[in-house]
C-alpha cells in the first residue's frame, strides 16, 4: 500500500480496562485510504473492544486517535460518525422492534419539510441499498426481530454503507452468513476498497479475511502481537501469531510479541 505520511486513521497506545481486566493494553494500529486491515485474534483478544473505542462506544483510559494526521476527539458514537467512521458491530446493534428502514436511518432520519419523519422516502432508500446487498430481501414492513440472522446482518451492513463512510469497521460481519452471502460481503469489501474507503475487518478466523486484507494486525490478551503486510507472511505464520504470539520475521512486532527468552 502507499505509505503516505498521514494515515486515514491511527490509534496510538490505546488502553482500556474493565475492572481488573486489561481488555486492550497499549495497542497501536493504523489504516490508510483504500486499505483493508484485518484485525485477528482469539475470542477475548480485545479486537471488539479496540474498535469500539474508535467507534465511540467505549471511552479509552489512555491513547490518542488521529484522523488524517490530526488528533480526533471521539467520546461518543456521534463524534465518530462526524469523522466518517461507520461500524458494523459484532452484536449488530439493531433496534429489534422497528423495521429495516427505521434501523438504517436510526439517529439520522430523513424528514419532511414539516420536520416529521419521512418514512416513505426512508423506505425508498432502504429498498435501494438493500436491493444492492440482498436483492431477495422483501420484508420492509416487519420489525427486524422477525428477520433471519443473514437478513439482520444485511440490515446492519446496509446501515454502515448508507452514509458514505470513509472509515468502515466490520466486526465479524459474516458470522451469521452462509457461504454465498459471505462471498457477497467479500465482493462488497473489494468494491468499497476500490472507492477509497479504509476498512477494519475483524475476525477470529484467518481464512475468512486473509485474501481480502492488505495487512493483518494480530491481537492476543489485549496486546498487539504484530502487524504485517499479507504478502510478507504466510497463513501459517499468522496462525502462529494468533495462537502462540510468535512474531515472524516479515512482521513488525508489537508489545504483545513473545520475547526471545520465553
Amino acid at each position: 500500500m502507499d505509505q503516505s505520511p498521514a494515515p486515514l486513521v491511527e490509534m496510538r497506545n490505546m488502553s482500556i480496562a474493565f475492572g481488573g481486566i486489561r481488555a486492550v493494553d497499549d495497542a497501536s494500529v493504523d489504516l490508510h485510504a483504500g486499505e483493508v486491515v484485518a484485525l485477528l485474534g482469539h475470542n477475548g483478544a480485545g479486537k471488539s473492544t479496540l474498535i469500539k473505542i474508535l467507534s465511540g462506544a467505549y471511552r479509552r483510559d489512555a491513547g490518542t486517535i488521529f484522523v488524517n494526521g490530526e488528533e480526533a476527539q471521539i467520546s461518543n458514537p456521534r463524534d465518530a460518525k462526524k469523522y466518517g467512521i461507520e461500524t458494523i458491530y459484532q452484536t449488530l446493534a439493531l433496534a429489534d422492534n422497528v423495521d429495516a428502514a427505521a434501523n438504517l436511518f436510526l439517529g439520522r432520519e430523513l424528514r419532511t419539510a414539516w420536520g416529521t419523519l419521512d418514512d416513505v422516502a426512508m423506505e425508498a432508500e432502504a429498498r435501494k441499498v438493500m436491493g444492492r446487498l440482498n436483492p431477495r430481501f422483501q420484508r420492509f414492513k416487519d420489525p427486524v426481530v422477525r428477520l433471519s440472522g443473514g437478513q439482520r446482518q444485511s440490515v446492519a451492513i446496509a446501515r454502515a454503507i448508507l452514509f458514505n463512510a470513509r472509515i468502515l469497521i466490520m466486526d465479524e460481519p459474516t458470522a451469521a452468513l452462509g457461504p454465498q452471502e459471505t462471498a457477497q460481503v467479500g465482493e462488497l469489501v473489494k468494491q468499497l476498497k476500490a472507492d477509497g474507503i479504509g476498512i477494519f475487518l475483524i475476525s477470529h478466523d484467518i481464512h475468512d479475511v486473509f485474501d481480502l486484507a492488505d495487512r493483518v494486525c494480530v491481537m492476543k490478551n489485549g496486546q498487539v502481537v504484530g502487524t504485517a503486510r499479507t504478502q510478507d507472511v504466510t497463513k501459517d505464520e499468522v496462525l502462529g501469531m494468533i495462537i502462540l504470539g510468535k512474531c515472524p520475521p516479515g512482521a513488525i512486532p508489537g508489545p504483545g510479541a513473545m520475547t526471545m527468552a520465553a
Binding site: 461500524t87 427505521a102 416513505v120 429498498r127
Partner: protein
C-alpha cells in the same frame, strides 16, 4: 424497484391461499390485536347492558363513561411512552393530586386574595392552568433527570415520587379541601356547561371524518409516488366508511343525552326562553374533557409515530445499547419522556379538579395503577419497545367500563377491586399468548 414487481405474483398466489377473513385482514391492514380489544370492549358493554336490564348502553351512561375515562386516558397516552422506554411511572396519581392542589390554590386563594383579581376574571383559569402545567413539567423533569442522568431505577424514583408528591399535596393547605373552582376552569370537567352542544359536536365529527379521509388519501398517494404495494381500493373505502361511522355514531350518542330538566329551566330563565309543552331538548354534545383526551391521544400518537423523538423512544425500548451506538442521546430522550408524562398528569389534574369542583389532597389516589393497567391492557409491553397510544386509551375506556358497569349493578367496592385486578392479570396473560403466537 424491480424486485417488487417480480415478487408480486408470488404475493398474490399466497394471498389466494388465505381464508376470506385472513384475506380481509391482510387487505385492510387492520391490527388483529386492536380488533380483539374492541371485541372485548363490546362484549363487556353487551354483558353489562343485559345484566343491568338495559341501563348500560344508554346515551346518558355512555356519555358519563366518556367523561370518567378522560383523566386516566390522558395519562395513559404518556404512560405508553414511559413503559416503551422500559421505565415505569408510579407517581402520576400523586402528581395529579399535588398539581390539582396547586391549581386549586392558585385560582381560589392566591389570585383572588393575594393578587386581588376579581372572581371570574378571565385570566384566572389560564394562570391557574399554566401554573399547574409548569409545576408538572418541572416535577417530570426532576424525576426524569434522576432516572436518566443519575441512573436511579425509575421504579424507585417514582415510588419515592408517589410518597413525596402525595405528602406535598397535603402540605399545600395542611390537608384542607380547596373549593370552589373558577367557573371557566370548571368547563374542563364536563357537565352541561362543559360540553360543546349538538351543532359544534357535529362540526367536530365532520371535521374528524374529513381528516381521516384526507389521511387515507395522502397515504395512498405517497405510496403510489414511491411505487410501494397499495391496499386494494375497496379496503381503503371500507376503512374510511368504518372510521367515519364510528366517529359520527359517537357524536350522535353524545348529542342524544339531554341536559337535565333543572339545568334547562335555569338556562331558559336566564335567557328568557319559554319552555315548550313537551320540554326543551338541549343536547350535551361532546364533553370538553373528552375533547382534551382525544386531543392528547392524537398529539401523543403523532409524537410517537411521526417525529424523530418518538422513533428514538421506540428504538431505546427495543435495544437501548443499539440506540446509544446509533448516536441517539438516550438520556435526554428519557428525560423528555418523563417531562411529557408530568405535563399530561397536569392536564389530568385540571380535568379531575374541574370535575370535582374542588382540590383535595387525596385526588388521584391509586390512579397510577389504573393508568398502568390501561396501558398494559392496551398492548404496551412491560419489556419495552412495544405499545400504541390508541390501545392505551381503549384500555382506559375498558377499565372505566368495568368500574362503572359494576357500580351500575351495585357491586361493592372491594369486589370491584377484585374483578379489576383479575381482569388485568388475565388480559396480560392473553396478550402474552397472542405475542408468542405472532412471533
Amino acid at each position: 424497484m424491480t424486485e417488487v414487481t417480480s415478487n408480486a405474483p408470488l404475493e398474490g398466489a399466497r394471498a389466494s391461499e388465505l381464508g376470506p377473513v385472513a384475506r380481509f385482514l391482510k387487505a385492510t391492514e387492520l391490527d388483529t390485536r386492536m380488533l380483539g380489544m374492541v371485541g372485548a370492549l363490546l362484549v363487556i358493554w353487551m354483558g353489562f347492558h343485559i345484566l343491568s336490564n338495559g341501563l348500560f348502553l344508554t346515551p346518558r351512561n355512555l356519555w358519563n363513561l366518556s367523561v370518567q375515562s378522560s383523566s386516566v386516558a390522558v395519562m395513559a397516552t404518556g404512560m405508553v411512552l414511559v413503559i416503551v422506554t422500559r421505565n415505569i411511572d408510579l407517581s402520576v396519581g400523586s402528581l395529579l393530586g399535588f398539581v390539582g392542589m396547586i391549581m386549586g390554590v392558585t385560582q381560589a386563594m392566591f389570585l383572588p386574595r393575594v393578587i386581588g383579581l376579581p372572581l371570574g376574571d378571565p385570566t384566572i383559569w389560564i394562570i391557574a392552568l399554566a401554573a399547574g402545567l409548569a409545576v408538572g413539567l418541572v416535577i417530570g423533569a426532576l424525576q426524569g433527570f434522576l432516572i436518566a442522568y443519575l441512573a436511579i431505577p425509575s421504579f424507585i424514583v417514582t415510588l419515592g415520587g408517589l410518597l413525596v408528591w402525595r405528602g406535598a399535596a397535603w402540605w399545600v393547605t395542611s390537608g384542607q379541601t380547596v373549593a370552589p373552582m373558577d367557573a371557566t376552569f370548571r368547563l374542563m370537567g364536563g357537565g352541561p356547561g362543559g360540553s360543546i352542544g349538538a351543532s359544534w359536536s357535529w362540526v367536530v365529527g365532520l371535521v374528524a371524518c374529513v381528516a381521516v379521509i384526507l389521511m387515507l388519501m395522502s397515504g395512498r398517494a405517497q405510496r403510489k409516488r414511491f411505487k410501494f404495494p397499495l391496499r386494494p381500493v375497496w379496503a381503503e373505502v371500507f376503512l374510511g366508511i368504518l372510521v367515519s361511522s364510528v366517529i359520527l355514531g359517537a357524536v350522535w350518542v353524545a348529542n342524544s343525552y339531554p341536559w337535565p330538566a333543572g339545568t334547562v329551566r335555569r338556562y331558559a330563565e336566564a335567557n328568557n326562553i319559554t319552555i315548550p309543552e313537551g320540554g326543551l331538548f338541549i343536547s350535551h354534545g361532546i364533553a370538553v374533557p373528552v375533547l382534551m383526551a382525544v386531543a392528547a391521544g392524537i398529539i401523543v400518537t403523532f409524537i410517537a409515530t411521526r417525529t424523530r423523538f418518538g422513533r428514538y423512544v421506540f428504538a431505546i425500548g427495543g435495544n437501548p445499547e443499539a440506540a446509544e451506538l446509533a448516536g441517539i442521546n438516550t438520556r435526554w430522550v428519557t428525560m423528555k419522556v418523563f417531562m411529557l408524562m408530568g405535563l399530561l398528569a397536569s392536564f389530568s389534574a385540571a380535568i379531575s379538579t374541574a370535575r370535582l369542583n374542588a382540590s383535595t389532597n387525596a385526588q388521584g389516589t391509586l390512579d397510577e395503577l389504573l393508568v398502568i393497567a390501561a396501558a398494559v391492557i392496551g398492548g404496551t409491553s412491560l419489556a419495552g419497545g412495544v405499545g400504541t397510544v390508541a390501545g392505551a386509551m381503549l384500555g382506559a375506556v375498558l377499565m372505566q367500563s368495568l368500574q362503572s358497569g359494576m357500580v351500575l349493578l351495585g357491586v361493592d367496592t372491594p369486589l370491584q377491586n377484585i374483578v379489576v385486578g383479575f381482569v388485568l392479570v388475565v388480559a396480560v396473560w392473553l396478550d402474552t399468548l397472542y405475542r408468542r403466537r405472532a412471533q
